[in-house]
């Protein structure tokens, strides 16, 4: 229970996305091997995450209960119930970064943004996600914010970086 992070971000799906979802679900339903798993994958590709509004549509189309859909969505780590924030903070928890103290970076980030790893702020502006090795261990510890990369970080650097994005 504790590990499931429900979103607090209001659903902002478009009519366009819903149309796309319904078409895709029709195709899946008519395929030889209709599965909830495939439906969830396709839905996440469209919306970027799996909010209740989307899972309800999936349940209706696939003829299963909402709980069954949710059970699959929370079983596999590939699925997320949270949208990425407009500014998505990603902290590398790969071996090198971790040894260089990226655990403390995550903690500071959580403190500055007032939310936990894996969560998205309810206005949808920020999200924190820990990542595996991003491939630049020489810069450890590393953090990315969308396409910006910050290397050789210390805990002290974090408030300023956060403030910069808050101001945007």
């Amino acid at each position: 229970m504790s590990r499931i992070k429900l979103t607090t971000v209001a659903f902002r799906g478009t009519e366009e996305q819903e149309k796309q979802l319904r078409n895709t679900l029709m195709e899946i339903r008519n395929s030889d091997h209709p599965s909830v798993m495939t439906a969830l994958q396709q839905a996440q590709a469209i919306y970027g995450y799996l909010p209740i509004e989307v899972q309800q549509i999936i349940a209706d189309y696939m003829g299963v209960s909402l709980e069954e859909v949710f059970g699959v969505a929370t079983f596999y780590s590939q699925f997320t119930l949270n949208p990425k924030g407009e500014y998505a903070f990603g902290v590398c928890l790969g071996t090198a970064c971790y040894v260089k103290g990226s655990g403390d970076i995550v903690a500071k980030l959580e403190e500055c943004l007032g939310m936990k790893d894996g969560e998205t702020s309810s206005d949808g502006k920020f999200s924190i996600g820990s990542t595996r090795c991003v491939g630049c261990c020489g810069l450890a510890p590393v953090m990315t914010v969308n396409k910006d990369v910050y290397g050789k970080l210390t805990v002290k650097d974090i408030p300023d970086i956060v403030a910069k994005y808050k101001a945007l």
């Binding site: 229970m1 504790s2 590990r3 499931i4 429900l6 209740i52 899972q55 309800q56 299963v64 209960s65 909402l66 709980e67 069954e68 859909v69 949710f70 059970g71 929370t74 079983f75 596999y76």
Partner: protein, 579 residues
Amino acid sequence: MALVNVKINNIPVQVEEGTTILEAARQAGIKIPTLCYLKGVNEIGACRVCVCEVKGARSLVAACVYPVNEGMEVFTNTKAVKDSRKATVELLLSNHNQDCLSCVRNNNCELQKLSLELGCSSHKYDGVKTESHIDASTPYLIRDNSKCVLCRRCVAVCKEYQSVAVIGANSRGFDTHIACAFESPLANTACVGCGQCIVACPVGALHEVEEIDQVNAAIADPKKHVIVAAAPSVRVGLGEEFGMPIGTNVEGKMVAALRRLGFDDVFDVNFGADLTIMEEGAEFISRLKNGGTLPMITSCSPAWVKFCEHNFPDQLDHLSTCKSPQQMFGAVCKTYYAQKLGIDPKDIVVVSIMPCTAKKFEKGRADQSAAGVPDIDYSLTVRELAKMIKSAGIIFEELPDEQWDAPLGMFSGAGLIFGATGGVMEAALRTVYEALTGKEAPSLDFTEVRGTEGIKEATYDIGGTKVKVCVASGLANARKIMQDVREGKADYQFIEIMSCPGGCVNGGGQPIKSAFVRNNYDVKKLRAASIYAQDKGMKLRKSHENPAIKELYKEFLGEPNSHKAHEILHTSYVPRNRY
């Protein structure tokens, strides 16, 4: 089907091909312990408690799902088997809240029994436990996941029997837990409150919201006039809580026990059932004659009503507007009977004893307060009543048989058979037949609608009018019928639906039977047979001949479906969302 020869612990047996090891062993007189297995409902081989050794197999196999084949040799009792089962249960115990002494299922817990039988050490693998919380959001059910063993029996009955499917396994691995979609509290889902999950649970993870303390407090309050009444099927369930054979009819002892518990009046909900027939019968005849919405569907089962509201909100016109027997009974107590006694209905406390958990929800519904106060104050399950009797020091087995109090303790066989699937239909037919033809039906036994099958149909010629009826129990069956009704494919005039498979005799508030008993005995059939036997021996078998009912109409209500009857005995429904 072909027969195969197998040996279980060197005992040769011949069984049908495809039989599981578990069943084959049973035929050889050997019991293999199980935990997650519920015959026909939950056959997933998940818990690994039933593992056995098969000669030539690489590893131990799960007996509940492993089919036998010709020449197979199975060993159910070797050291490897016993060690494995023991370790499995010890691991379950390591993540189990071992609050056994104060647990509602103490002495009736399948995990406790397994632990004892397998000689487990309760703290062999102490360590971190899965974080859990208690869902007490509904007025009828509490889920305490700290005691859950993840057998998924509750999930299976919710989906397979009831097609409600609001609970399932969320997350994975050590974090796996049974809950609702989006971790929603149960009260915010389309749960109908039937309680089938409770009676399927092997441990104390699920139980009803108890109202025993409130009832005892009311009894102790000299200002309150406390009335109790028991539903038809309670008398054939209660004895099991005192070690009697399944289906033993303990009506007389139950009345004696209720009186000794200190209730002021000991009445029978069967009276409410007879009253329901008067109202529902009249409503049916009126719909039939005046072109009302047909088929008319019974509304006695509160979980069914809620199911209909959630899943068929566009079909609510089909539901009879009659309150359930429980609610009719309460309404009459607080109007007619209160007036008779000269007591303010606010000082009357009506307690119902029910085979049901949904009744705890029903009593709190809107439009169920005929006298401006709730028709029913407290609704206890059969289990709660047994607990009260035990804690009061009443030696149930030794009680004399006593009679119900007058006048609301008087009932007909028609009211009594409400406790089994088909019973409401049969009771209604006994009365409707006479009302339409002026003659008694050729036989009072409408056997076509009896029996434990999930869906039954029959057509009766009632004075030249063909009446086609349908009886469904188990909400998965009800869903099938309702889809036909929605699509206009159902040519019935009258449908009876009970939520629990087999009706109230198998309700979620009845004594809990272990999986072994459920897998090997048809509990609902045994309890139903006991009810029909009592009906058969009764002189009074038609609701409209119940003298107390006649008097009620004469003195107070006027005619069935009169304006006054409508105000007191009928109700309304609300469309609800599926999510």
